[in-house]
Amino acid sequence: MVHQVFIYVAHRDGQAADSALELLSAARILSPDGPVTAIVTGWGEVLDRVCQEMASRCPEVWKLAHQDLAYPNAEAVRKCLVEVLPSEAVLLLAHDTLGMDLGPGLSVKLNSSFVSDVVAMTAPRDGALTLVREEYGGQVSTHVSCDISGGAVLSIRSGAFPALEDGAPGEVQDRSSEIGDLACGRRFLEIVEAEAGDVDITKEEILVSAGRGIEDEDNIEIAEELAKALGGVVSCSRPIVDAKWLEKARQVGTSGKTVKPKIYLALGISGSFQHLGGLKGNPFIVAVNKNSKAPIFQVADVGVVDDLLEFVPLLTERINSQR
């Protein structure tokens, strides 16, 4: 049987999240020819903008407007989706902080299957879908079979699927009238913005880590620029904290934080005993160091023997120019 495939579009400030186009390309695996419907919940003018944006890429967009959805409170969103989704629907959503909040409970309410943090999948066969997930911080992967005969909720890892570039445009359907009462036991109050020091490097997937080779406080910026280009954050080794160029919370090492990123760029870090002790989860390590004998090259996957002060700005520039 053919399941109707939906994607749930997260958005902020009137713009769809990057994940939306990735969800579209994942949806295409499930439904190569069939229609894919994007669901956008929200309120007011920003909602319309996102719906229009999605309609330029997606054949069908459901607009679900309700005052209680102005902020995506997962409890309210779930209530709303339970009411509008047809039975046996397959819904894709991003495995982000909203998706983690929304997905599992939604699958229970829809009485459908749930697989989270999907990194790959193949077209369904005989009512079952085969997906790939990672376990133990990415040290091993599993193939998972998921019975989608009763529908499914799948949360998709960001960056795992390419963004769909060639989606056909479509129409926005306003389905807001189907929404009932959304009052729920959880109420959003406010967002408290993180201070600079609040970055939690233990939870970041991409770390650009600065070591003694950065030489000067002003050069921390070089690492920051690269981190920005890669969508990661800056961490560091002990000497940088000693010099008070970055706060202690950024320090990787046995005496600092134990991190488990996917990608670790070690800039001017020689790879001391204590530093490497804080690096877990088998990340892909890129080392940039002038000294070709630096121990970091023994553990790195890719090494660049060069002056980081010259190399890194060039790298950042080339990454940015390829966007």
């Binding site: 003694r212 002990r238 000693d242 005496s255 020689s270 001391s272 005993f273 204590q274 002790g277």
Partner: protein, 681 residues
């Protein structure tokens, strides 16, 4: 007049007795301790450290001043007693101090009083005018004791001056009466007589009475003042030194008198309130003279970690005084010690290097107290997050990195082409067991120490085996970080494995493991550090080294704390280095041997760093650099790790390097075949 004297004396003695009684109460409320073993050794300590003032000259000026004052006190003690008696009947003499000996004693005491006077003036000027940095108190830790430090020399001066005036006036009166009395030249007595040369008899009489009175009042004031502050040591030092810790490498049991197998019955572990300290520890608090030598040598204090051994003691003493006041209402201590007078970071800052204990001229100890406080924190679950992972891994895996025991001997694979390292079993017993230790087994860098050790042992003709996956972490730091139960589990596992191996002796290249096996374990074969084994072979001409990679270099030896201070192995590693021809060996003068400066700490210390201004290791490599060394040789994998990192941080890694003793030896083994020199040839 005699009535007044009797009143002063009785009041003084009663007050003093009452104060002592109040001070003794906490000792009886404290935890038990065992300090009456090895009486001979204890008397030796008293003769050396107390009477001989052995540790005083380590700080030369202050030490010499103290030696003079101390000697004067010992000599003048008898005179003070005599003076009290004189108040009751004239011309009283102490038994044994009559006649000739009495005259000799008088001569000595007159000079003693004089040098005490001079020393006190110098001391007061030094403290009051020059104010050495060592005595300053960071506001966060406490207040300095300048007032007391000036008052006491003043009191002492008053004592010796009044005594001399009493004697001088007496002598002059006697001389007028025709007696042949003489004053030794250039003494206070002599000066007093010169000053009072023209005075008439009634004035002399008045001077005599007043100076006696002043002496008595000051004496009893001083006596009762002593137990109120840092000069309590005048009274307690003899006992504190007698009861001092005799086993530097050892850690006290959780509670004296409670067997290990009954530990689980204890409601709590370690120290969380004052009375959990042992009576000796309370005596330590009383005895501290606030001289600041401990903190001056403390690596944690040097890099501005929140720990100062000096204030560690003084804060506790203040707490004892507040909780057990001489009079008035006792403070109710609601807060635990840690969280109250101590911070958690403070307690975890100690590397247990032992420099403070080595330095203390009064036999005050620190490591056992720190360990006991940590035991208390561990028991309450108050363990820093960064230490919980390695402790958990030690519990489950027997090593702090959570690596599989199966790969524990994988470092030996590198040697497969040269020879096979035997993993012992009951089927394959060995005579010599090489206890590798966790860090040398698992860490990529430190595995090279294990490999070097294996090559050196083989070259030295020692047939050896390793425990392989049966070896667990020795638990040395586990115990010193306060996790006694986990330590006991590790120790029991290792003990069983060691005994199963059938080995007759154990060797190790890791001082922490060496100390654990030697001092924490029981019922296992004797253990030697590799430096001991090689040193012995070198002396017996069974082992020789050749010129090689390091020939012509200037090396300095860094004494690892657990080899040197805790176990007295200073010469053995130096002898091994000196056996390599063509090396120039220098010393970090003032910071070597028992004054070695810690690298930053081993084992679990690698997983915890308190707030600090710089790394301890960075200070250490600075000392090595000052000594003119190109190569730092150490004999401990943790020292190697810390110093290697410190060289990088200090930006000295291009001009200096650090190498383990075993690696150094390995690179100077005689080339070609068996290196063992035939003893006959």
């Amino acid at each position: 007049m005699a009535f007044v004297y009797i009143l002063i004396t009785c009041a003084g003695i009663c007050l003093f007795a009452y104060i002592l009684y109040r001070r003794l109460v906490p000792l009886f409320r404290a935890a038990p301790d065992q300090r009456v073993d090895r009486i001979g050794a204890r008397i030796g300590k008293v003769l050396q450290i107390w009477l001989g003032q052995w540790r005083q000259p380590r700080y030369l000026l202050a030490g010499m001043i103290h030696i003079f004052i101390f000697a004067g006190f010992v000599l003048l003690g008898a005179r003070s007693l005599q003076l009290i008696l004189i108040g009751f009947w004239d011309g009283a003499a102490l038994p044994g101090l009559g006649g000739q000996t009495g005259a000799a004693y008088n001569l000595v005491k007159d000079y003693a009083a004089t040098w005490v006077f001079i020393a006190c003036v110098i001391a007061a000027v030094r403290r009051g005018v020059f104010r050495p940095a060592r005595y300053q108190a960071p506001p966060a830790l406490g207040k300095d004791h300048l007032g007391e430090a000036l008052l006491v020399p003043g009191l002492i001066c008053a004592l010796v001056v009044s005594e001399s005036l009493f004697e001088a006036s007496l002598q002059m009166a006697q001389a007028r009466a025709g007696a042949a009395v003489s004053a030794p030249p250039l003494t206070l007595l002599w000066a007093g007589r010169a000053l009072m040369g023209g005075l008439g008899l009634p004035v002399l009489q008045a001077v005599n009475s007043v100076s006696y009175f002043v002496h008595e009042v000051v004496f009893f004031f001083f006596l009762c003042f002593l137990p109120l502050g840092k000069h309590f040591h005048v009274l307690t030092s003899l006992f504190n030194v007698f009861f001092m810790r005799l086993h530097p490498g050892k850690v006290k049991p959780v509670r004296y008198g409670v067997d290990e197998d009954r530990l689980d019955d204890l409601p709590e572990f370690g120290v969380s309130k004052l009375e959990h300290f042992t009576w000796k520890h309370i005596l330590d608090f009383y005895t501290c003279a606030d001289c600041g030598r401990c903190s001056d040598r403390c690596p944690a204090n040097r890099v501005k970690r929140p720990l100062s051994p000096r204030f560690f003691t003084i804060k506790a003493r203040d707490r004892v005084y507040a909780k057990y006041p001489l009079w008035g209402k006792a403070m109710e201590a609601r807060q635990a010690l840690v969280g109250g007078i101590y911070g958690e970071d403070e307690i975890w800052s100690c590397t247990t290097c032992g420099a403070c204990e080595q330095e203390c001229p009064l036999g005050i100890e620190y490591i056992d107290k720190i360990v006991d406080l940590r035991r208390g924190l561990v028991d309450q679950g108050r363990v820093p997050q960064s230490l919980q992972k390695p402790l958990g891994a030690l519990e489950k895996r027997g090593n702090p990195w959570g690596k599989s025991q199966r790969i524990r001997a994988d470092w030996a694979k590198e040697l497969a082409d040269e020879f096979a390292v035997i993993v012992t079993s009951e089927k394959e017993p060995v005579d010599t067991l090489y206890f590798v230790g966790s860090v040398s087994s698992y860490d990529d860098r430190m595995q090279r120490i294990a490999q070097a050790t294996a090559r050196v042992l083989r070259h030295a003709g020692v047939e050896f085996g390793v425990l392989g996956k049966a070896e667990s972490d020795s638990g040395h730091e586990v115990r010193r970080f306060g996790e006694e139960s986990l330590f006991l589990a590790l120790r029991d596992a290792n003990t069983e494995a060691i005994l199963n191996s059938g080995a007759a002796r154990i060797v190790t290249a890791d001082p922490h493991d060496y100390n654990a096996l030697k001092n924490d374990y029981r019922g296992i074969p004797p253990v030697m550090h590799l430096s001991q084994l090689l040193s012995r072979k070198i002396v017996q001409n069974e082992f020789a080294l050749e010129r090689g990679e390091y020939t012509g270099k200037t090396v300095v030896y860094h004494d690892p704390c657990y080899l040197g201070r805790h176990n007295g192995l200073y010469d053995e590693p130096r002898r091994v280095i000196d056996a390599i021809p063509g090396l120039r060996r220098v010393e970090m003068v003032g910071n070597c041997r028992d004054r070695s400066f810690c690298c930053g700490g081993g084992g679990l210390a690698l997983f915890y760093e308190p707030e600090e201004e710089q790394r301890i290791g960075v200070v250490r490599v600075g000392m090595a650099r000052e000594a003119g060394a190109e190569v730092i040789v150490t004999a401990c994998p943790f020292c190697l790790a810390n110093i290697e990192d410190a060289l990088k941080i200090a930006g000295l890694d291009q001009e200096m390097e650090v190498i383990d003793l075993m690696e150094l030896v390995e690179r100077h083994l005689p080339q070609g075949g068996q290196g063992r020199r035939d003893a006959k040839g």
